[in-house]
């Protein structure tokens, strides 16, 4: 058993119209809650489909549970241990809630009926309700129920809170945290709601144009990144060469705002050594880190 429950190396995949993945390196530690971030079209869904064995990559390798994703047998075995929520929350239009639960259950030997019952009640899903009559939010919840009740070791969720109102989002996040804490399942989810990711993820990966731009522990990232505000007494005199670690510099009158991706202490020292400056440090949110990286790419 490897330390990473998901590991890809230089994954490439092109479609007729575009190159979706251009050498993606992804590592998801076991037992983590991994937030997979990226703009629309960056390659998130393609990555997920590849991990599930729904797409064959052009080159590179991918492993889930240490099993290479290379043939029909192995991918079926992998899917048996994964709970999945698709981006489009579409299920069979001719089934009711109860029917689809009954239908999905036999495929998964580790199915947890207690969880299914619990979420049925908690999410207030009508057992006899026909799926097309459910609102988008209810369908999202139903898909979550189906994914979590599988008793899976890995949950792969593509926009799990899409279409949910704030109370429902809170419910879902709480349940995900609960599952992670009680079963030790790894949760790999993509989301546009950076605030959500910031709350429950301990690992984060940002993908843009088919490549992983930055990934690692969220705590580390937030410790490394800092925003420095340098206010000059009269004229702005920037050093000829800044210390290493600056992601961006913006000037507004006598104030210079620096986003440092690492080495903040050295940069602060350098700034403080310029006569007539006051330097203030501010924490950086995940949103700022994200925007900075996809903007500059």
């Amino acid at each position: 058993m490897t330390d990473f429950i998901v590991e890809t190396s230089q994954l490439c995949k092109s479609f007729k119209s575009k190159e979706a993945l251009r050498g993606l390196d992804l590592r998801v530690p076991v037992g983590s809650i991994f937030g997979f971030l990226g703009r629309n079209g960056a390659g998130k869904t393609t990555t997920i489909k590849t991990l599930l064995g729904l797409l064959r990559s052009d080159s590179g390798s991918a492993q889930v549970f240490g099993i290479p994703v290379t043939d029909a047998d192995s991918t079926v075995g992998i899917r048996r241990r994964i709970g999945f929520v698709a981006e489009d929350k579409e299920l069979y239009p001719y089934m009711t809630v109860k029917q689809i639960i009954r239908y999905t259950r036999p495929f998964f030997p580790q199915w947890r009926d207690d969880l299914a019952q619990r979420y049925l009640q908690m999410f207030e899903l009508p057992p006899e309700g026909k799926i097309p009559n459910l609102s988008k939010g209810m369908r999202s919840k139903l898909m979550l129920l189906l994914a979590i009740s599988r008793g899976a070791e890995l949950l792969i969720l593509d926009e799990p809170t899409d279409g949910l109102d704030p109370t429902a989002i809170e419910e879902v996040l709480r349940e995900l945290v609960s599952i992670a804490a009680s079963s030790g399942a790894t949760i790999f989810f993509s989301s546009h709601q950076l605030a959500e990711v910031e709350r429950i993820a301990d690992q984060v990966g940002i993908i843009d144009q088919g490549r992983m731009i930055v990934s690692g522990s969220l705590d580390d990232m937030k410790a490394r990144y800092q925003r420095l505000q340098v206010v000059f007494a009269d004229r702005v005199e920037m050093p000829a060469r800044w210390a290493d670690g600056i992601a961006s510099v913006r000037q507004d009158g006598r104030m210079v705002s620096i986003l440092a991706s690492h080495n903040a202490d050295a940069i602060v020292e350098q700034a403080e050594s310029i006569p007539g400056t006051t330097v203030e440090r501010f924490p950086v949110t995940l949103k700022e880190i994200f925007l900075e990286h996809v903007r500059s790419n």
Partner: protein
């Protein structure tokens, strides 16, 4: 569970297919007890067409084409859910094709029963045993059409598949009637002129040929899906 799902998906199509058979039945009903020739006409011409329709309709196996990845709503969009289940595409196709075949066979059998019950003229001309042989022949020969449709379903979408099947069958019919191939390859004759009802013999050669052809087509379909499998 896949069978259950397939059933839920196709039960209305089956109903519709049975409804189509009503066309034949209606025609039969109109024929007076002594209208032997008219019955022949129907059995030779109308019946094969109806069978074609039944097979084309019931062989839909949307799972295995590429289209599901682009669809956004409804049945097609949900295929990603199905594909994310721990089943191979091969098994998905096999179950779907198998279920469709059972439904088609059932529809044909039901049609024959209904024909027998509705048409006094038919009852005059033939025996229950012969009816059974007739049903068997129809099922065997129609299987070839059915599995052609299944093979086409592996790379064509619904509408194209139906057209493709009809064109394929038409081509086959043309070839059968206009080229000097051995008699047993003409399954249409087997369903019509040479059928137990009209010729009062069972066209075993044609049946064997048809079954063999069905097997080849099914095998081809499975291979296509397997190749496309991860």
């Amino acid at each position: 569970m896949l069978w259950y799902k397939g059933w839920l998906e196709t039960r209305f199509r089956l109903l519709f297919a049975l409804g189509c058979t009503g066309l034949v039945l209606f025609q039969l009903h109109l024929i007076p007890p002594d209208g032997k020739s008219k019955i022949f006409g129907i059995l030779e011409n109308l019946t094969p067409i109806i069978l074609l329709m039944i097979c084309a309709m019931l062989s839909g196996a949307g799972i295995v084409t590429q289209a599901p990845f682009q669809a956004k709503k409804g049945l097609q969009a949900s295929t990603i859910f199905t594909l994310s289940l721990p089943v191979s595409r091969l098994r998905l196709l096999a179950v779907r094709a198998g279920l469709g075949w059972l439904e088609a066979a059932g529809a044909i059998g039901a049609l024959c029963c209904a024909m027998w019950l509705i048409s006094p003229a038919l009852r005059m001309m033939t025996t229950p045993v012969e009816m059974l042989e007739y049903a068997g022949t129809l099922i065997a020969c129609a299987s070839a059409i059915y599995f052609l449709s299944v093979l086409l379903a592996t790379f064509l979408d619904d509408v194209w598949r139906i057209w493709g099947t009809m064109i394929g069958v038409a081509a086959f019919w043309w070839i059968s009637s206009h080229t000097p191939l051995p008699a047993f390859t003409n399954i249409f004759r087997a369903m019509g002129k040479s059928s137990p009802l009209i010729a009062h013999t069972t066209p075993w050669n044609a049946i064997a040929f048809s079954v063999a052809l069905s097997a080849i087509l099914l095998f081809a379909a499975l291979r296509v899906v397997q190749a496309r499998e991860y």
